[in-house]
């Protein structure tokens, strides 16, 4: 919203008081901003309005005098007169509440919603004293499970249409519906078709009564026992804003906060219910050292001094790059900074990477002009060359879906496999690697070989220099080396210099890693090591003298016995590295593996030393989401056992090595980041927790945007308890945007730092795929519920893990003589093989095999081999 909005404001009167309102906004919204809360149930600011519950009736003056009107459906108009408090309004509200209650069970004492129930609350405030209903209430079978995660109690349902609207309109999963008519209407699913939506938890959050409850929270806590802080979800790189709640020092629930720039209040189920992993009893709680093949407990002091001696002797042997650091997606910006400073400023090793072969090179990411999510959602057009967003960054999918369905933007997708984006796209083109180059060069040219895309973009008003275009760039298919996507992006950025990129890599805080130098060759602020500033040199005493290795090279050199010490900080390459054969054999050759972890993962359980790390919600800090937005993370519970935040562990190791990183708190780390990194200029803990708490801050901050507007946070109907905390100012301070307007708009996102794309992406164009005899094209992508520690340790999610299947099209199956259910042997190019159950799936292209990443772990088999530009596999009857 820019300043000149205020000039277009109109005036309406609410209860005799004149208020300003934005044309087109609803009476219920305008009144709320002016401090007049109109009760409601069905109204939700992120859903299309239906005006069904009739709780929000107010008197509005019309040609025939004042009449009752639903304020949730009526847009303001200049001079409108509204009365929200009159006998007539009161009678209507009383009436609606009494009518809602006649068939509502009085099981509040055993209802999860009790204590934070708007029906309860509004009955107290607006309702009749007692019910005059003397007849038998309507009865339904008490809660039925409509999915693995959601229970439905139809007796409590007040037919507000929120869950059904959400499922249909927002999620696009019309799996729950109104069934029946009139007062026999119930919500239900189709027989044997459960509500298995990735977004089902949102319906629980927005249900204004206890009709929908989530199995991970049922009977866990009473609202009045809960305490809460704001934070950001780190399950993926979206960074959805959440409220973290706990009871008796145990996490109990996450709720989505309504951030305008990020998640609009929504969460995916994996993020929402992942809190269980923090509570897991399988956490590592003490330092463990391997002795004679098994772990024994040790003290922090002896663990740290052992590390120091291993590092010192490795350093003494020569190349510090023989000490490697793989940093995982659990880390906060402060953790990353401390570990990178330890590596590059103390140990002088440049062998640091924050990705596991499933992302894109930090250097390429650094030079592409960055787009925000909001910019993508309002772009003239979007070009997607990315993995399936719904599987990888689910809430981004919701944002894009909303933007496209409402006509704000249009989408073209390119790639190798069907994805949920296809349903949203106007043009969907399947490509081979060699066509990509052509596509990038000619995208906006009349003579383009891809005329459908060109004409879509032209009609949408994308300029010939790419202005107005946002590119979603991720790893569309892990079977293609990342260089394919990188070269495409670099080529495209040259051809269309004004096009912006949203990097759609799933792993949380990959952007923080890139921005803070957790990639070879770069320092915080994406500064090449050779360009290190004076300020930085003062703080980082031992800069690497030689270029280090990224993950792939690190593992390859480990295989050759050239890595002496390897730090796995929240990183599990044995399970997560794309080429698991390489990762496993390489790690076996490392002299000393230190794992800093929360669980006994595949890698940590084979490490030499394990240090227990604090988990999400056990520490404060910041994270950077995929668009470069820095967001706060807040501690809610005490760290488990002897675990420590990762940044302190780095500090302790540095101390053992005789260097002081100079931090005593996460805020100290952030201050230093802001000091040494030009990209992070202007950031401070204070700022992030005050004016920018809800929306975070996109970096680099433009000097003109020193404040941003916090939005309404939580829909007051679903979670009135939370809303009141907000009102009490325990959350961040509430400011009306009207007051704040003059301070400008944070959405002025900086372009990429002015590094040229020159020198990047040359000569890495792969050859056209060659059909090798007997080999088939491979599509290798993750799903939301791919295996991982997170899933494994969340009891209510773990059974959702995807099954290992080998999917091919019906036609291909026919050609090969296979049927669904057959057992097949899939062989990779290096001769590894695994057994799979075959599934016929006609969304798979002919001649192609689809395997789901993270659905299997087979020793010696990895469908993707590092070093291959394009991977193929063979499929034979087992």
């Amino acid at each position: 919203m820019s300043t000149d909005v205020s000039q277009n404001l109109i005036t309406i009167s609410v209860d005799g008081k004149e208020i300003k309102a934005v044309p087109g906004e609803l009476v219920i919204e305008a009144a709320e901003k002016a401090g007049v809360f109109i009760p409601r149930f069905c109204y939700h600011n992120r859903l299309p309005q239906v005006g069904m519950c009739r709780m929000c009736l107010v008197e509005v003056k019309g040609p025939r005098g004042f009449a009752l009107q639903p304020s949730c459906y009526l847009p303001v108009s200049d001079g409108m007169e509204v009365i929200t408090e009159s006998d007539k309004v009161k009678k209507a509200q009383d009436g609606v509440l009494e009518l809602l209650l006649i068939n509502h069970p009085l099981d509040c004492p055993t209802c999860d919603k009790g204590g934070e129930c708007p029906l309860q609350d509004q009955t107290l405030t607006y309702g009749p004293g007692e019910s005059r209903f003397a007849e038998e209430k309507r009865h339904w079978e008490k809660p039925i499970a409509i999915s693995d995660l959601v229970f439905l109690d139809r007796e409590r349902c007040i037919q507000c249409d929120r869950c059904t609207r959400f499922a249909d309109v927002i999620a696009g999963d019309a799996l729950i519906e109104f069934i029946g008519r009139g007062d026999h209407t119930e919500i239900n699913v189709f027989p044997d078709r459960p509500f298995s939506s990735y977004f089902s938890g949102n319906t629980v959050q927005i249900c204004p009564v206890g009709a929908l409850t989530a199995s991970p929270y049922r009977f866990k806590a009473r609202p009045w026992d809960l305490s809460q802080v704001e934070s950001s979800c780190t399950t993926c790189s979206m960074g959805c804003r959440i409220m973290v709640q706990s009871s008796q020092n145990e996490l109990t629930r996450y709720l989505g906060l309504d951030s305008d720039s990020i998640n609009h209040g929504w969460l995916c189920d994996k993020g929402r219910f992942g809190f269980e992993a923090v509570n897991s009893s399988d956490r590592v709680t003490v330092p463990l050292i391997r002795k004679n093949g098994s772990f024994t407990e040790t003290t922090w002091a002896s663990a740290l001094s052992l590390i120091a001696s291993k590092v010192s002797s490795a350093k003494a042997a020569g190349d510090p790059n023989r000490i490697g650091f793989l940093l995982g997606s659990r880390l906060t910006n402060e953790d990353i900074y401390a570990w990178v400073k330890l590596a590059k400023g103390v140990v002088a090793s440049d062998s640091v990477d924050c990705q596991l072969g499933d992302g894109l090179s930090g250097k390429v990411i650094s030079v592409l002009p960055r787009a925000t999510i909001n910019q993508a959602a309002s772009a003239k057009a979007i070009l997607a060359f990315t993995g399936d967003i719904r599987e990888e960054i689910p809430v981004l999918f919701l944002r894009l879906r909303e933007a496209i369905k409402s006509g704000k933007t249009k989408l073209a997708t390119i790639g190798t496999h069907a994805s949920s984006l296809d349903q949203l796209s106007d043009v969907s083109v399947k490509v081979s690697p060699d066509q990509l180059q052509l596509l990038a060069r000619e995208l906006m040219q009349e003579s383009s070989k891809f005329p459908d895309i060109a004409s879509l973009f032209t009609t949408q008003g994308v300029a010939s220099d790419g202005d107005g275009l946002v590119v979603l760039l991720g790893r569309e298919n892990l079977a293609w080396d990342r260089s394919v996507a990188e070269a495409f992006a670099v080529e495209l950025s040259r051809a269309l210099p004004k096009a912006k990129f949203l990097i759609t890599i799933r792993s949380s805080n990959f952007a923080g890693g890139v921005d803070l130098g957790a990639v070879p060759g770069l320092l915080p602020g994406r500064t090449p090591i050779e360009d290190a500033s004076l300020k930085l040199r003062q703080k980082w005493v031992n800069l690497p003298g030689r270029a280090g290795y990224g993950a792939a090279e690190m593992l390859k050199s480990a295989l050759r016995g050239e890595v002496d010490v390897l730090f796995l900080v929240g990183s599990d390459p044995r399970q997560d590295y794309v080429d698991s054969v390489l990762a496993n054999s390489a790690l076996d050759q490392v002299g000393f593996v230190v794992s800093v972890d929360t669980y006994l993962s595949q890698s940590s359980s084979m490490a030499d030393l394990i240090l227990p790390a604090s988990s999400f919600a056990e520490k404060s800090g910041t994270t950077t989401n995929l668009e470069g937005r820095v967001l706060t993370l807040n501690q809610k519970v005490t760290p488990r056992g002897l675990s420590r935040p990762d940044w302190t562990i780095a500090s302790e190791i540095a101390l053992e090595l005789g260097e002081d990183l100079g931090f005593t708190s996460a805020a100290d780390v952030l201050d230093e980041i802001a000091e040494v990194s030009p990209l992070h200029w202007g950031l401070s803990w204070h700022r992030l927790t005050r004016s920018a708490a809800l929306e975070g801050v996109v970096i680099p901050i433009s000097p003109t945007s020193l404040s941003i507007r916090p939005n309404a946070m939580l829909d007051q109907v679903s979670t009135p308890g939370i809303a009141s905390v907000w009102n009490q100012g325990l959350a961040s301070s509430k400011t009306s945007f009207l007051e704040n307007d003059s301070e400008g708009d944070i959405e002025q996102v900086a372009e990429a730092p002015s590094q040229a794309t020159r020198g990047l992406g040359e000569s890495i164009w792969p050859l056209a795929p060659i059909q090798l005899l007997g080999f088939m094209n491979l599509v290798y992508t993750p799903k939301l519920y791919s295996h991982g520690e997170h899933l494994k340790n969340s009891p209510h999610l773990s059974h959702l893990a995807v099954e290992a299947k080998c999917r091919i099209s019906g036609r291909t199956a026919n050609d090969l003589g296979f049927e669904t259910g057959d057992s097949v042997r899939v062989a990779d190019k290096a001769g590894g093989e695994g057994l799979f159950e075959l599934e016929i799936d006609d969304s798979v292209r002919d001649g192609t095999v689809e395997l789901t990443r993270g659905s299997f772990a087979i020793s010696g088999f990895s469908p993707v081999r590092i070093g291959e530009t394009v991977n193929y596999v063979k499929v034979e009857r087992a």
């Binding site: 019309a174 799996l175 109104f178 008519r181 699913v189 189709f190």
Partner: protein
């Protein structure tokens, strides 16, 4: 295996093609499925959902709104006795009671032999023949108790099979002509019509102006 018989699948495709938005064919397809199977089975709803490109839950959500679409099995003859006010004044409630006695089932139930389902229905627009009843949406009235007994008898002994097809068969007349004028042609025609109209109005205005 498809639910619809090949013949009905053909009809279904014609129906889907009749509308600018295929979901509009939902109710006609439900009737078609009931005609084939007597009621609207889950299998039928799944197939209808596929034909329309929507979720089975959406088909069920819509179908369950309508009284004529039965997701549970009903008898061969669905006997609906109207008790709405005009029929009630003529003895509709008493007729329902009698029907219940004769068939041995309360309203809403089906006889054990699967022949009859009894329903209390709202006005079926046959009020000048009160009290009246419908059997598979074919109307009978006015019905004295004895008339009702005879009706049941006739149905049992198949004497009415001409007038009253088994439940689910609604209209026995189908559209002959699936061929439609393509909407693009219509839209072009309308554009031309609107242009011509504008021109006429302009000419009229000019005339009026000229005369002034």
């Amino acid at each position: 295996m498809s639910f619809f018989t090949p013949e009905n699948l053909g009809k279904a495709q014609v129906l889907v093609g009749l509308y600018p938005d295929k979901r509009s064919a939902l109710i006609p397809l439900c009737h078609l499925a009931q005609g084939q199977h007597g009621h609207l089975s889950n299998e039928a709803m799944v197939e209808i959902a596929e034909l329309l490109g929507i979720q089975p839950a959406e088909v069920m959500g819509t179908a369950s709104f309508y009284d004529m679409l039965h997701t549970e099995e009903v008898g061969k003859y669905l006997v609906g006795v109207c008790t709405n006010v005009a029929c009630m004044l003529g003895g509709g409630l008493e007729l329902l009671e009698h029907a219940s006695d004769v068939l041995g089932i309360p309203p809403g139930a089906t006889t054990d032999d699967g022949m009859f389902t009894l329903e209390e229905v709202e006005c079926v627009a046959h009020c000048d023949k009160a009290p009246c009843a419908q059997v598979n949406y074919r109307y009978f009235g006015p019905l004295a108790d004895s008339d009702f007994d005879r009706l049941v008898d006739d149905l049992r002994s198949d004497r009415l099979s001409e007038t009253v097809p088994p439940h689910g068969v609604l209209s026995r007349v189908f559209r002959d002509a699936p061929a439609m004028v393509p909407l693009e042609i219509i839209h072009q025609e309308r554009r031309d019509m609107d242009e011509a109209k504008k021109a006429r109005l302009a000419a009229q205005n000019q005339d009026a102006g000229g005369k002034q």
